[in-house]
């Protein structure tokens, strides 16, 4: 056998070609009775239709959770979830929280030191001491 093939798997590059939004599901929980859900109820009545229309790729579930503070829970493609308590928040603040959950990747928050990461090799290559103007000792 002169040459064998090595089996690997192609690596995903989200956004090269198609972009898959990482937030796949948002759960909205509210309480019909409690006052801390007042802003949440107003958000669900007035802001949610526009949000759902703008983001059809997010599955949205609205369900009551009596005697609890209102919560928005985001489920992500990597299997993690992120929950934000929105008690006593105004609808406009909840809009911000929803956008935060929508744009999150689902990963744990970490500091990025390099602004760009790439799978491709550097075009310039690595410097080699054995090429170019060799100095004889």
């Amino acid at each position: 056998m002169p040459v064998q093939g090595i089996r690997t798997v192609t690596a995903a590059r989200n956004g090269v070609g198609a972009f898959i939004l990482q937030c796949k599901r948002l759960d909205f929980h509210y309480c019909d009775w409690a006052g801390s859900s007042r802003g949440m109820v107003a958000y669900l009545k007035h802001h949610l239709p526009a949000f759902a229309k703008a983001n059809p790729q997010i599955e949205i579930r609205v369900s009551p959770r009596p005697h609890k503070h209102p919560v928005i829970k985001g489920h992500y493609i990597n299997g993690r979830e992120k929950a934000v308590c929105v008690r006593n928040l105004e609808p406009e603040q909840i809009v911000q929280k929803t956008n935060l959950l929508k744009q999150a990747s689902g990963e744990k928050l970490k500091r990025t030191k390099k602004p760009v990461t790439s799978l491709n090799e550097s075009v310039r290559g690595i410097w080699s001491p054995y090429h170019g103007g060799l100095k004889s000792v």
Binding site: V3, Q4, T8, V9, K24, Y130
Partner: protein, 404 residues
């Protein structure tokens, strides 16, 4: 070329009454390549199978809680109710001509619902053919000198089951714990292999002397007998026997297989409902856009020998290895930089801790330089299917690897 009647196909796939026996038949025989001498299934046999197929209940019973538990897979009406399914449709940017019902059907594996009118097997068959077709023509036209083993590996990397399963995971497709009528149609449904069961290797292939495991399998024979990735496939059987056997013991499938089948079925569904351009766009955006470094797929055992054979085949001068530079020959960490020259042309160069290592690295570099040649402005044959395509200029395809 006669244009295909896509609409007619899609209607036949969508309707529950459609007879998919013919496509199933195709699935059973798709292991046979056209180069092989085995005769493809006779059309009369096909018709006979359709007649023999027992008439399954064409319409699921009415939608009540008890009856839902009786169903093997969610009813067709449930697709419109599922928010998960609609979100998945939007997340993949699927064309609106592809209805949610078909997407729901592509999520039902044959192990969940053995009825071919409700599972994704026919769609997956079509999708698999499309995927392998587009990938292979892309690979061969882009890298015309690739050895066949590397082509197999690259095909596996692009559209192999492992990749497709990873894609389904990256699309956010979740698997149901068990298939059933009450399950949300947005979940991938398949019957799982019970834990502890051993996965037997494929037996019953068309390859002669299959039982002689220690016999050498040539690449040429794997072109004939194996599938697109160089893996053994089940050979053809008597169709009626096969379907009976399938119905009797529906074994589970692994999650990887089920996910891969789903992705193939989505591809087939797009082709049927939205047409070829949409399918090609989907292929480019989701499959070809993934990253694969093909130069990592090579595994040479004796690169220097291969290179000398290659030079002999191509009527180059015999390759000669020469030291370009070196340092610390007597030290603990010597470094030799060796170049391989054919006459005045440097074919490749490599650095190593010994002269032999450096020479073989240089030979590998030279071989990769040969095999990874890629012409500019690659066109694939399927681009001729579009309207108003430029006249076809034959692409250069090399002989492939050297025979040692």
């Amino acid at each position: 070329m006669k244009r295909l009647q896509l609409q007619r196909w899609s209607s036949s796939v969508l309707s529950a009454q459609a007879r998919t026996g013919g496509r199933l038949q195709h699935r059973l025989y798709n292991g046979i390549r056209h180069q092989s001498t085995a005769s493809p299934a006779a059309p009369t046999a096909n018709d006979q199978l359709i007649e023999e197929e027992p008439l399954a209940p064409s319409i699921h019973p009415p939608n009540s809680r008890q009856s839902k538990y009786q169903l093997p897979s969610p009813p067709v009406e449930a697709a419109r109710e599922s928010a998960k399914l609609a979100a998945l449709h939007a997340r993949l940017y699927l064309p609106s001509r592809l209805p949610l019902e078909t997407l729901a059907r592509s999520l039902v594996d044959a192990s969940a619902d053995p009825n071919p009118k409700f599972n994704n097997e026919s769609l997956a068959t079509l999708g698999h053919d499309l995927l392998t077709h587009y990938t292979s023509e892309y690979l061969i036209c882009t890298y015309p000198r690739l050895p066949l083993t590397v082509i197999f590996a690259a095909m596996y990397a692009y559209v192999g089951p492992k990749t497709l399963a990873a894609m389904a995971r990256e699309w956010g497709v979740e698997s149901a714990a068990a298939p059933g009528g009450e399950v949300d149609p947005g979940y991938l449904q398949f019957k799982r292999i019970p834990p502890g069961a051993d996965l037997k290797p494929v037996t019953g292939t068309a390859r002669p002397h299959e039982d002689q495991a220690h016999w050498r399998k040539s690449i040429t024979s794997s072109v004939v007998y194996d599938n697109e990735f160089g893996d053994p496939v089940k050979g053809p059987k008597n169709p009626s026997e096969q379907s009976k056997q399938d119905a009797q013991n529906i074994k589970g499938v692994t999650a990887e297989q089920a996910n891969a089948t789903f992705v193939r079925a989505v591809m087939g569904a797009i082709y049927l409902h939205a047409g070829r351009p949409a399918a090609k766009r989907f292929f480019e955006q989701h499959f070809l856009s993934r990253h694969l470094n093909i130069s990592d797929l090579f595994n040479f055992s004796q690169p220097a020998r291969d290179l000398s054979r290659l030079c002999a085949r191509e009527n180059f001068e015999q390759p000669v290895a020469r030291i370009i530079s070196e340092t610390g020959r007597k030290s603990r960490h010597p470094v030799f930089v060796v170049g391989i020259y054919s006459g005045q042309d440097k074919l490749g160069e490599g650095a190593g801790a010994s002269l032999l290592e450096a020479r073989s690295r240089a030979a590998v570099a030279a071989l990769k330089g040969w095999y990874l040649y890629s012409p500019l402005n690659v066109r694939v044959p399927s681009s001729m299917e579009e309207e108003g395509a430029a006249p076809w200029k034959p692409v250069h395809v090399d002989l492939g690897e050297v025979i040692v």
